[in-house]
Amino acid sequence: MRRLRSLLTDRLALGLLVLAALVLGMPALKPLFAAAFPALDRPLYEADGFLALTLDHLALAGGASLIAVLLGGAAGIAVTRPFGREFRGILDAVAAMGQTFPPVAVLAVSVPVLGFGPAPALIALTLYGLLPIVENTVAGLESVPEPVREAARGMGMGPGALLWRVELPLAAPVILAGVRTAAVVNLGTAAIASTVGAKTLGLPIIVGLNGSNPAYVIQGAVIVAALAVVLDAGFDRLAARLTRWRPNAV
Protein backbone atom coordinates (compact mmCIF):
# COMPACT_ATOMS: atom_id res chain seq x y z
CA MET A 1 0.00 0.00 0.00
CA ARG A 2 2.74 2.42 0.93
CA ARG A 3 4.62 1.34 -2.15
CA LEU A 4 1.62 2.15 -4.28
CA ARG A 5 1.28 5.59 -2.74
CA SER A 6 4.93 6.43 -3.23
CA LEU A 7 4.60 5.28 -6.83
CA LEU A 8 1.64 7.60 -7.34
CA THR A 9 3.47 10.61 -5.94
CA ASP A 10 6.66 9.87 -7.86
CA ARG A 11 6.22 11.84 -11.06
CA LEU A 12 9.03 10.01 -12.86
CA ALA A 13 7.84 6.49 -12.06
CA LEU A 14 4.25 7.40 -12.78
CA GLY A 15 5.20 9.06 -16.05
CA LEU A 16 7.23 6.05 -17.15
CA LEU A 17 4.32 3.79 -16.30
CA VAL A 18 1.84 5.89 -18.32
CA LEU A 19 4.33 6.16 -21.18
CA ALA A 20 4.87 2.40 -21.31
CA ALA A 21 1.13 1.79 -21.16
CA LEU A 22 0.49 4.22 -24.03
CA VAL A 23 3.30 2.93 -26.23
CA LEU A 24 2.50 -0.74 -25.75
CA GLY A 25 -1.23 -0.53 -25.20
CA MET A 26 -2.30 1.91 -27.92
CA PRO A 27 -3.76 -0.90 -30.11
CA ALA A 28 -5.96 -1.91 -27.19
CA LEU A 29 -7.52 1.57 -27.27
CA LYS A 30 -8.71 1.08 -30.84
CA PRO A 31 -12.37 0.55 -29.80
CA LEU A 32 -12.22 3.77 -27.79
CA PHE A 33 -11.00 5.79 -30.79
CA ALA A 34 -13.53 4.05 -33.01
CA ALA A 35 -16.29 5.14 -30.64
CA ALA A 36 -14.97 8.68 -30.33
CA PHE A 37 -14.51 9.17 -34.07
CA PRO A 38 -17.24 7.06 -35.69
CA ALA A 39 -16.70 8.78 -39.03
CA LEU A 40 -13.16 7.42 -39.43
CA ASP A 41 -12.49 4.21 -41.37
CA ARG A 42 -9.17 3.71 -39.62
CA PRO A 43 -9.29 4.95 -36.04
CA LEU A 44 -5.81 3.57 -35.18
CA TYR A 45 -2.47 4.45 -36.79
CA GLU A 46 -1.13 1.10 -37.90
CA ALA A 47 1.40 1.93 -40.62
CA ASP A 48 4.20 1.72 -38.04
CA GLY A 49 4.31 0.27 -34.56
CA PHE A 50 4.26 2.87 -31.78
CA LEU A 51 7.14 1.14 -30.03
CA ALA A 52 9.31 1.37 -33.14
CA LEU A 53 8.36 5.03 -33.64
CA THR A 54 9.12 5.81 -30.01
CA LEU A 55 12.52 4.12 -30.20
CA ASP A 56 13.38 5.93 -33.43
CA HIS A 57 12.23 9.18 -31.90
CA LEU A 58 14.41 8.62 -28.83
CA ALA A 59 17.36 7.56 -30.98
CA LEU A 60 17.14 10.80 -32.98
CA ALA A 61 16.51 13.21 -30.08
CA GLY A 62 18.72 11.33 -27.60
CA GLY A 63 21.51 10.68 -30.09
CA ALA A 64 21.61 14.34 -31.11
CA SER A 65 21.58 15.45 -27.48
CA LEU A 66 24.36 13.04 -26.56
CA ILE A 67 26.62 14.14 -29.42
CA ALA A 68 25.84 17.75 -28.55
CA VAL A 69 26.83 17.14 -24.91
CA LEU A 70 30.18 15.67 -25.95
CA LEU A 71 30.99 18.32 -28.57
CA GLY A 72 29.45 21.24 -26.68
CA GLY A 73 31.06 20.22 -23.41
CA ALA A 74 34.44 19.87 -25.08
CA ALA A 75 34.08 23.26 -26.78
CA GLY A 76 32.95 24.90 -23.53
CA ILE A 77 35.93 23.43 -21.68
CA ALA A 78 38.35 24.38 -24.45
CA VAL A 79 37.40 28.06 -24.55
CA THR A 80 37.78 28.37 -20.78
CA ARG A 81 41.37 26.99 -20.88
CA PRO A 82 44.29 29.27 -21.71
CA PHE A 83 44.87 27.72 -25.14
CA GLY A 84 41.30 28.26 -26.31
CA ARG A 85 40.51 31.61 -24.73
CA GLU A 86 40.86 33.40 -28.06
CA PHE A 87 37.80 31.58 -29.39
CA ARG A 88 35.66 32.46 -26.39
CA GLY A 89 34.09 35.65 -27.76
CA ILE A 90 33.11 34.30 -31.15
CA LEU A 91 31.68 31.13 -29.59
CA ASP A 92 29.59 33.18 -27.14
CA ALA A 93 28.29 35.32 -29.97
CA VAL A 94 27.38 32.32 -32.12
CA ALA A 95 25.68 30.53 -29.21
CA ALA A 96 23.62 33.59 -28.26
CA MET A 97 22.64 34.45 -31.81
CA GLY A 98 22.00 30.86 -32.89
CA GLN A 99 19.51 30.35 -30.11
CA THR A 100 17.27 33.06 -31.50
CA PHE A 101 16.90 30.95 -34.67
CA PRO A 102 13.69 28.93 -34.36
CA PRO A 103 14.60 25.22 -34.27
CA VAL A 104 11.97 24.34 -36.86
CA ALA A 105 13.49 26.85 -39.30
CA VAL A 106 16.97 25.44 -38.69
CA LEU A 107 15.62 21.96 -39.40
CA ALA A 108 14.00 23.18 -42.62
CA VAL A 109 17.06 25.10 -43.82
CA SER A 110 19.20 22.02 -43.27
CA VAL A 111 17.26 20.14 -45.96
CA PRO A 112 18.51 22.14 -48.98
CA VAL A 113 22.06 21.92 -47.61
CA LEU A 114 22.15 18.38 -46.19
CA GLY A 115 19.20 16.60 -47.80
CA PHE A 116 16.21 14.58 -46.56
CA GLY A 117 16.33 11.71 -44.05
CA PRO A 118 17.26 10.81 -40.49
CA ALA A 119 20.99 11.59 -40.81
CA PRO A 120 20.56 15.23 -41.89
CA ALA A 121 17.91 15.62 -39.17
CA LEU A 122 20.40 14.25 -36.64
CA ILE A 123 23.00 16.79 -37.77
CA ALA A 124 20.53 19.67 -37.58
CA LEU A 125 19.35 18.68 -34.10
CA THR A 126 22.93 18.22 -32.91
CA LEU A 127 24.00 21.64 -34.16
CA TYR A 128 21.03 23.30 -32.53
CA GLY A 129 21.51 21.37 -29.28
CA LEU A 130 25.14 22.48 -29.11
CA LEU A 131 24.20 26.10 -28.50
CA PRO A 132 22.62 25.94 -25.02
CA ILE A 133 25.12 23.31 -23.93
CA VAL A 134 28.15 25.38 -24.95
CA GLU A 135 26.65 28.48 -23.39
CA ASN A 136 25.91 26.78 -20.08
CA THR A 137 29.20 24.89 -19.95
CA VAL A 138 31.07 28.17 -20.23
CA ALA A 139 28.77 29.87 -17.70
CA GLY A 140 29.06 26.95 -15.28
CA LEU A 141 32.83 26.77 -15.44
CA GLU A 142 33.08 30.54 -15.00
CA SER A 143 30.90 30.37 -11.89
CA VAL A 144 33.49 28.33 -10.00
CA PRO A 145 34.78 30.71 -7.30
CA GLU A 146 38.40 31.77 -7.74
CA PRO A 147 39.39 30.86 -4.12
CA VAL A 148 38.22 27.29 -4.72
CA ARG A 149 40.42 27.09 -7.80
CA GLU A 150 43.35 28.60 -5.91
CA ALA A 151 42.91 26.19 -2.99
CA ALA A 152 42.84 23.26 -5.40
CA ARG A 153 45.99 24.39 -7.18
CA GLY A 154 47.64 25.18 -3.84
CA MET A 155 47.12 21.64 -2.60
CA GLY A 156 48.73 20.21 -5.69
CA MET A 157 45.91 19.40 -8.09
CA GLY A 158 47.07 19.45 -11.71
CA PRO A 159 44.91 20.94 -14.48
CA GLY A 160 43.21 17.58 -15.09
CA ALA A 161 42.35 16.91 -11.46
CA LEU A 162 41.17 20.51 -11.08
CA LEU A 163 38.82 20.11 -14.04
CA TRP A 164 37.40 16.69 -13.22
CA ARG A 165 37.25 16.84 -9.43
CA VAL A 166 36.42 20.47 -8.83
CA GLU A 167 35.38 22.55 -11.83
CA LEU A 168 33.09 20.14 -13.66
CA PRO A 169 31.24 18.89 -10.53
CA LEU A 170 30.66 22.49 -9.44
CA ALA A 171 29.54 23.51 -12.92
CA ALA A 172 27.39 20.40 -13.34
CA PRO A 173 24.04 21.92 -12.29
CA VAL A 174 24.43 24.79 -14.76
CA ILE A 175 25.65 22.46 -17.52
CA LEU A 176 22.72 20.16 -16.81
CA ALA A 177 20.28 23.05 -17.29
CA GLY A 178 21.77 23.56 -20.76
CA VAL A 179 21.51 19.86 -21.55
CA ARG A 180 17.91 19.97 -20.41
CA THR A 181 17.11 22.86 -22.74
CA ALA A 182 18.77 21.02 -25.60
CA ALA A 183 16.97 17.75 -24.84
CA VAL A 184 13.55 19.39 -24.54
CA VAL A 185 14.02 21.26 -27.82
CA ASN A 186 15.35 18.14 -29.53
CA LEU A 187 12.40 16.05 -28.34
CA GLY A 188 10.01 18.51 -29.97
CA THR A 189 12.06 19.11 -33.11
CA ALA A 190 12.45 15.36 -33.59
CA ALA A 191 8.65 15.16 -33.86
CA ILE A 192 8.69 17.79 -36.61
CA ALA A 193 11.60 15.94 -38.25
CA SER A 194 9.06 13.49 -39.61
CA THR A 195 8.40 16.21 -42.23
CA VAL A 196 12.00 15.95 -43.43
CA GLY A 197 12.08 12.20 -43.80
CA ALA A 198 12.87 10.90 -40.31
CA LYS A 199 10.38 8.38 -38.91
CA THR A 200 9.43 9.62 -35.45
CA LEU A 201 6.35 9.99 -33.29
CA GLY A 202 5.58 13.10 -35.33
CA LEU A 203 4.63 10.86 -38.24
CA PRO A 204 1.14 9.87 -37.02
CA ILE A 205 0.52 13.54 -36.17
CA ILE A 206 1.56 14.79 -39.63
CA VAL A 207 -0.25 11.99 -41.43
CA GLY A 208 -3.34 12.65 -39.32
CA LEU A 209 -3.26 16.40 -39.92
CA ASN A 210 -2.77 16.00 -43.67
CA GLY A 211 -5.42 13.29 -43.91
CA SER A 212 -7.94 14.87 -41.52
CA ASN A 213 -7.66 11.97 -39.12
CA PRO A 214 -7.76 13.47 -35.60
CA ALA A 215 -7.39 10.01 -34.02
CA TYR A 216 -3.88 9.62 -35.49
CA VAL A 217 -3.00 13.11 -34.32
CA ILE A 218 -4.09 12.39 -30.76
CA GLN A 219 -2.31 9.03 -30.65
CA GLY A 220 1.00 10.60 -31.65
CA ALA A 221 0.51 13.67 -29.50
CA VAL A 222 -0.24 11.88 -26.22
CA ILE A 223 2.87 9.71 -26.50
CA VAL A 224 5.08 12.72 -27.34
CA ALA A 225 3.55 14.63 -24.43
CA ALA A 226 4.10 11.68 -22.07
CA LEU A 227 7.72 11.50 -23.23
CA ALA A 228 8.12 15.19 -22.49
CA VAL A 229 6.71 14.82 -18.99
CA VAL A 230 9.01 11.85 -18.27
CA LEU A 231 11.98 13.83 -19.58
CA ASP A 232 11.09 16.80 -17.40
CA ALA A 233 10.71 14.62 -14.29
CA GLY A 234 13.94 12.80 -15.08
CA PHE A 235 15.89 16.04 -15.34
CA ASP A 236 14.31 17.26 -12.09
CA ARG A 237 15.56 14.12 -10.40
CA LEU A 238 19.03 14.48 -11.87
CA ALA A 239 19.23 18.17 -10.96
CA ALA A 240 18.29 17.42 -7.35
CA ARG A 241 21.00 14.80 -7.22
CA LEU A 242 23.67 17.11 -8.64
CA THR A 243 22.85 20.02 -6.32
CA ARG A 244 22.67 18.21 -2.99
CA TRP A 245 25.64 20.22 -1.73
CA ARG A 246 23.95 23.57 -2.36
CA PRO A 247 22.52 25.70 0.49
CA ASN A 248 18.92 25.45 -0.71
CA ALA A 249 19.04 21.86 -1.87
CA VAL A 250 15.75 20.02 -1.45
Binding site: P147, M155, G156, R246
Partner: protein, 312 residues
Protein backbone atom coordinates in the same frame (compact mmCIF):
# COMPACT_ATOMS: atom_id res chain seq x y z
CA UNK B 1 64.05 24.72 5.25
CA UNK B 2 62.98 27.50 2.83
CA UNK B 3 65.45 29.93 1.34
CA UNK B 4 65.10 32.81 -1.12
CA UNK B 5 68.27 33.95 -2.88
CA UNK B 6 68.03 37.19 -4.84
CA UNK B 7 64.40 36.59 -5.84
CA UNK B 8 62.65 39.18 -8.01
CA UNK B 9 59.11 39.20 -9.35
CA UNK B 10 57.59 41.85 -11.58
CA UNK B 11 53.99 42.26 -12.70
CA UNK B 12 54.27 44.45 -15.76
CA UNK B 13 56.01 47.65 -14.73
CA UNK B 14 55.48 47.03 -11.03
CA UNK B 15 58.12 45.19 -9.02
CA UNK B 16 56.31 43.12 -6.40
CA UNK B 17 59.40 41.44 -4.97
CA UNK B 18 62.80 43.07 -5.37
CA UNK B 19 65.98 40.98 -5.06
CA UNK B 20 64.78 39.35 -1.85
CA UNK B 21 66.90 37.00 0.22
CA UNK B 22 65.23 35.33 3.16
CA UNK B 23 65.57 32.12 5.13
CA UNK B 24 62.91 30.28 7.08
CA UNK B 25 64.43 27.75 9.46
CA UNK B 26 62.88 24.35 10.17
CA UNK B 27 60.26 24.48 12.91
CA UNK B 28 59.93 28.25 12.77
CA UNK B 29 56.63 30.08 12.98
CA UNK B 30 57.59 32.76 10.51
CA UNK B 31 55.22 35.67 10.00
CA UNK B 32 55.54 37.87 6.90
CA UNK B 33 54.06 41.28 7.54
CA UNK B 34 53.85 44.54 5.67
CA UNK B 35 51.41 47.06 4.23
CA UNK B 36 49.31 46.05 1.22
CA UNK B 37 51.47 46.00 -1.90
CA UNK B 38 54.54 45.04 0.12
CA UNK B 39 54.82 41.74 -1.75
CA UNK B 40 54.19 39.50 1.25
CA UNK B 41 51.52 37.37 -0.46
CA UNK B 42 53.62 37.15 -3.61
CA UNK B 43 56.52 35.80 -1.53
CA UNK B 44 54.24 33.17 -0.01
CA UNK B 45 52.74 32.16 -3.34
CA UNK B 46 56.21 31.75 -4.84
CA UNK B 47 56.99 29.16 -2.16
CA UNK B 48 54.49 26.72 -3.68
CA UNK B 49 55.01 27.94 -7.25
CA UNK B 50 51.57 29.46 -7.67
CA UNK B 51 53.73 32.33 -8.89
CA UNK B 52 57.04 31.82 -10.66
CA UNK B 53 59.89 34.25 -9.88
CA UNK B 54 61.53 36.26 -12.68
CA UNK B 55 64.97 35.93 -11.15
CA UNK B 56 66.66 34.23 -8.19
CA UNK B 57 66.47 30.79 -6.61
CA UNK B 58 63.99 29.38 -4.12
CA UNK B 59 64.94 26.22 -2.26
CA UNK B 60 62.69 24.09 -0.12
CA UNK B 61 64.38 21.49 2.06
CA UNK B 62 67.50 22.04 -0.02
CA UNK B 63 65.87 21.45 -3.42
CA UNK B 64 65.54 24.15 -6.09
CA UNK B 65 61.76 24.22 -6.51
CA UNK B 66 62.04 25.30 -10.15
CA UNK B 67 63.19 21.73 -10.81
CA UNK B 68 60.24 20.13 -9.02
CA UNK B 69 56.84 19.41 -10.54
CA UNK B 70 54.55 22.07 -9.06
CA UNK B 71 51.93 19.46 -8.07
CA UNK B 72 54.49 17.33 -6.21
CA UNK B 73 55.83 20.37 -4.40
CA UNK B 74 52.37 21.56 -3.39
CA UNK B 75 51.29 18.19 -2.06
CA UNK B 76 54.18 18.39 0.41
CA UNK B 77 52.96 21.73 1.73
CA UNK B 78 49.74 22.80 3.38
CA UNK B 79 48.10 25.95 2.00
CA UNK B 80 45.45 28.05 3.73
CA UNK B 81 43.95 31.23 2.22
CA UNK B 82 41.79 34.00 3.58
CA UNK B 83 38.74 33.06 1.51
CA UNK B 84 39.18 29.41 2.64
CA UNK B 85 38.26 27.91 -0.74
CA UNK B 86 36.57 24.79 0.60
CA UNK B 87 35.12 22.65 -2.20
CA UNK B 88 31.41 23.36 -1.82
CA UNK B 89 30.34 20.07 -3.41
CA UNK B 90 32.33 17.93 -1.01
CA UNK B 91 31.58 17.09 2.62
CA UNK B 92 33.92 18.24 5.38
CA UNK B 93 35.45 14.77 5.45
CA UNK B 94 36.17 14.70 1.73
CA UNK B 95 37.55 18.23 1.83
CA UNK B 96 40.01 17.31 4.55
CA UNK B 97 40.87 14.07 2.75
CA UNK B 98 41.63 15.89 -0.51
CA UNK B 99 45.43 15.73 -0.42
CA UNK B 100 45.66 12.25 1.18
CA UNK B 101 43.34 11.09 -1.63
CA UNK B 102 45.59 12.69 -4.22
CA UNK B 103 48.51 10.88 -2.60
CA UNK B 104 46.62 7.59 -2.59
CA UNK B 105 46.46 6.94 1.16
CA UNK B 106 44.46 3.85 2.22
CA UNK B 107 40.88 4.59 3.18
CA UNK B 108 41.11 3.63 6.85
CA UNK B 109 44.16 5.81 7.38
CA UNK B 110 42.41 8.79 5.77
CA UNK B 111 39.37 8.30 7.97
CA UNK B 112 41.44 8.15 11.14
CA UNK B 113 43.36 11.21 10.09
CA UNK B 114 40.13 13.16 9.49
CA UNK B 115 38.88 12.24 12.96
CA UNK B 116 42.19 13.24 14.50
CA UNK B 117 42.26 16.61 12.73
CA UNK B 118 38.65 17.51 13.49
CA UNK B 119 39.35 16.79 17.15
CA UNK B 120 42.55 18.82 17.01
CA UNK B 121 40.61 21.80 15.66
CA UNK B 122 37.79 21.47 18.19
CA UNK B 123 35.13 20.26 15.76
CA UNK B 124 33.10 17.25 16.87
CA UNK B 125 34.03 14.62 14.25
CA UNK B 126 30.70 12.80 14.30
CA UNK B 127 28.74 16.03 13.96
CA UNK B 128 30.77 17.71 11.24
CA UNK B 129 32.28 14.88 9.19
CA UNK B 130 29.30 14.64 6.83
CA UNK B 131 28.39 18.33 6.76
CA UNK B 132 28.69 20.47 3.61
CA UNK B 133 30.72 23.71 3.80
CA UNK B 134 27.65 25.95 3.50
CA UNK B 135 26.34 24.49 6.76
CA UNK B 136 29.36 25.80 8.71
CA UNK B 137 30.06 29.23 10.19
CA UNK B 138 33.01 31.24 8.87
CA UNK B 139 35.22 30.19 11.77
CA UNK B 140 34.29 26.54 11.36
CA UNK B 141 35.00 26.74 7.64
CA UNK B 142 38.47 28.08 8.28
CA UNK B 143 39.05 25.34 10.90
CA UNK B 144 38.25 22.82 8.17
CA UNK B 145 40.54 24.78 5.84
CA UNK B 146 43.39 24.41 8.34
CA UNK B 147 42.59 20.72 8.87
CA UNK B 148 42.64 20.18 5.11
CA UNK B 149 46.06 21.85 4.86
CA UNK B 150 47.44 19.69 7.67
CA UNK B 151 45.89 16.46 6.43
CA UNK B 152 48.88 14.92 4.69
CA UNK B 153 51.24 15.82 7.54
CA UNK B 154 53.14 18.45 5.56
CA UNK B 155 56.50 19.68 6.82
CA UNK B 156 55.53 23.19 5.80
CA UNK B 157 52.27 25.07 6.22
CA UNK B 158 51.69 28.23 4.17
CA UNK B 159 48.96 30.56 5.44
CA UNK B 160 47.87 33.69 3.54
CA UNK B 161 45.97 36.04 5.90
CA UNK B 162 43.94 33.04 7.05
CA UNK B 163 42.03 34.75 9.85
CA UNK B 164 41.63 38.28 8.48
CA UNK B 165 37.98 37.80 7.52
CA UNK B 166 36.91 36.45 10.93
CA UNK B 167 35.43 38.30 13.87
CA UNK B 168 37.91 39.16 16.71
CA UNK B 169 36.74 36.42 19.10
CA UNK B 170 36.91 33.64 16.52
CA UNK B 171 40.23 35.01 15.29
CA UNK B 172 41.64 34.88 18.81
CA UNK B 173 40.49 31.30 19.29
CA UNK B 174 42.00 30.17 15.99
CA UNK B 175 45.26 31.98 16.73
CA UNK B 176 45.51 30.08 20.03
CA UNK B 177 44.81 26.82 18.21
CA UNK B 178 47.50 27.57 15.62
CA UNK B 179 50.00 28.28 18.37
CA UNK B 180 49.11 24.98 20.04
CA UNK B 181 49.32 23.08 16.75
CA UNK B 182 52.72 24.60 16.05
CA UNK B 183 54.00 23.58 19.46
CA UNK B 184 52.55 20.07 19.17
CA UNK B 185 53.62 19.23 15.61
CA UNK B 186 56.74 21.31 15.06
CA UNK B 187 55.54 22.08 11.53
CA UNK B 188 57.31 24.98 9.85
CA UNK B 189 54.68 27.67 9.35
CA UNK B 190 54.88 30.67 7.05
CA UNK B 191 52.08 33.05 7.87
CA UNK B 192 51.15 36.25 6.02
CA UNK B 193 49.27 38.99 7.82
CA UNK B 194 48.91 42.76 7.90
CA UNK B 195 47.98 42.74 11.59
CA UNK B 196 50.97 43.41 13.87
CA UNK B 197 49.17 42.13 17.00
CA UNK B 198 48.61 38.81 15.23
CA UNK B 199 52.24 38.72 14.15
CA UNK B 200 53.55 39.45 17.63
CA UNK B 201 51.23 36.88 19.20
CA UNK B 202 52.10 34.01 16.86
CA UNK B 203 55.56 34.46 15.40
CA UNK B 204 58.78 32.94 16.50
CA UNK B 205 60.36 35.19 13.87
CA UNK B 206 58.89 38.08 11.92
CA UNK B 207 59.95 39.34 8.49
CA UNK B 208 58.80 42.88 7.70
CA UNK B 209 58.46 43.67 4.02
CA UNK B 210 57.91 46.95 2.23
CA UNK B 211 57.74 47.45 -1.54
CA UNK B 212 59.12 44.02 -2.18
CA UNK B 213 62.20 44.42 0.05
CA UNK B 214 63.02 42.96 3.44
CA UNK B 215 63.02 45.78 6.00
CA UNK B 216 63.76 43.79 9.13
CA UNK B 217 63.84 40.18 10.22
CA UNK B 218 63.91 39.06 13.84
CA UNK B 219 62.02 37.81 16.88
CA UNK B 220 58.97 39.77 18.05
CA UNK B 221 61.06 41.15 20.89
CA UNK B 222 63.80 42.30 18.47
CA UNK B 223 61.22 44.07 16.37
CA UNK B 224 59.73 45.82 19.38
CA UNK B 225 62.89 46.81 21.14
CA UNK B 226 65.11 47.50 18.18
CA UNK B 227 63.00 48.63 15.20
CA UNK B 228 65.11 49.07 12.06
CA UNK B 229 63.50 52.31 10.93
CA UNK B 230 60.42 54.53 11.05
CA UNK B 231 58.45 52.21 8.81
CA UNK B 232 58.79 49.48 11.41
CA UNK B 233 57.96 51.90 14.22
CA UNK B 234 54.81 52.91 12.30
CA UNK B 235 53.85 49.29 11.81
CA UNK B 236 54.38 48.51 15.47
CA UNK B 237 52.31 51.53 16.38
CA UNK B 238 54.08 54.34 18.22
CA UNK B 239 51.36 55.00 20.77
CA UNK B 240 50.55 51.43 21.64
CA UNK B 241 54.14 50.30 21.55
CA UNK B 242 54.25 49.70 25.27
CA UNK B 243 51.20 47.47 25.30
CA UNK B 244 52.49 45.48 22.35
CA UNK B 245 55.78 45.12 24.10
CA UNK B 246 53.98 43.67 27.13
CA UNK B 247 51.96 41.34 24.95
CA UNK B 248 54.98 39.37 23.71
CA UNK B 249 56.26 38.29 27.12
CA UNK B 250 54.65 35.90 29.59
CA UNK B 251 53.93 36.38 33.27
CA UNK B 252 56.27 33.48 34.13
CA UNK B 253 59.31 35.44 32.94
CA UNK B 254 58.80 38.27 35.48
CA UNK B 255 57.36 36.32 38.41
CA UNK B 256 59.12 36.67 41.80
CA UNK B 257 59.36 33.04 42.89
CA UNK B 258 58.15 32.07 46.35
CA UNK B 259 56.29 35.33 47.07
CA UNK B 260 52.56 35.33 47.70
CA UNK B 261 49.81 37.86 47.08
CA UNK B 262 46.03 37.97 47.72
CA UNK B 263 43.37 37.30 45.05
CA UNK B 264 42.78 34.89 42.16
CA UNK B 265 46.09 33.82 40.63
CA UNK B 266 47.26 34.74 37.12
CA UNK B 267 48.22 31.91 34.78
CA UNK B 268 51.96 31.67 34.19
CA UNK B 269 51.36 31.50 30.45
CA UNK B 270 49.32 34.71 30.32
CA UNK B 271 50.94 37.73 28.67
CA UNK B 272 52.19 40.68 30.68
CA UNK B 273 49.55 42.75 28.90
CA UNK B 274 46.86 40.55 30.37
CA UNK B 275 48.52 40.85 33.77
CA UNK B 276 48.45 44.65 33.53
CA UNK B 277 44.78 44.57 32.56
CA UNK B 278 44.00 42.35 35.56
CA UNK B 279 45.88 44.67 37.97
CA UNK B 280 44.06 47.76 36.66
CA UNK B 281 40.72 45.98 36.82
CA UNK B 282 41.24 44.80 40.39
CA UNK B 283 42.92 48.01 41.59
CA UNK B 284 46.01 46.25 42.90
CA UNK B 285 49.74 46.38 42.19
CA UNK B 286 50.40 42.74 43.09
CA UNK B 287 48.90 39.46 41.89
CA UNK B 288 49.68 35.81 42.68
CA UNK B 289 50.86 33.55 39.81
CA UNK B 290 50.01 29.87 39.37
CA UNK B 291 51.41 27.32 36.92
CA UNK B 292 49.47 25.23 34.44
CA UNK B 293 48.28 22.81 37.13
CA UNK B 294 47.14 25.67 39.41
CA UNK B 295 50.06 25.34 41.84
CA UNK B 296 51.30 28.67 43.30
CA UNK B 297 54.49 29.86 41.62
CA UNK B 298 55.04 33.30 43.13
CA UNK B 299 53.83 36.85 42.65
CA UNK B 300 54.04 39.58 40.02
CA UNK B 301 54.50 43.26 40.90
CA UNK B 302 53.43 46.24 38.81
CA UNK B 303 56.99 47.46 39.01
CA UNK B 304 58.17 44.26 37.31
CA UNK B 305 56.26 45.30 34.21
CA UNK B 306 58.24 48.54 33.92
CA UNK B 307 61.65 46.85 33.78
CA UNK B 308 63.24 46.40 30.35
CA UNK B 309 63.59 42.90 28.96
CA UNK B 310 65.82 40.62 30.91
CA UNK B 311 68.98 40.28 28.90
CA UNK B 312 71.11 38.54 31.49
Amino acid sequence: MISFEGVTKRFGAWTAVDNLSLTVAAGEFRVLIGPSGSGKSTVLRMMNRLIAPDAGTIRVEGEDIARLKPETLRRRMGYVIQSVGLFPHWTVERNIAAVPDLLGWPRARVRDRVTELLTLLNLDPERYRGAYPHELSGGQQQRVGVARALAAEPHILLMDEPFSALDPITRGALQAEMAAIHTATGTTIVFVTHDMDEALALASRIAILDRGRLVQSGTPLDILTDPADDRVRDLVGREEWGLKRLAVETVAERTRPGETAPGDPLAAGASLRQALAAMVARGTDRLPVADGQGRPMGALHLADLLRGPDRS
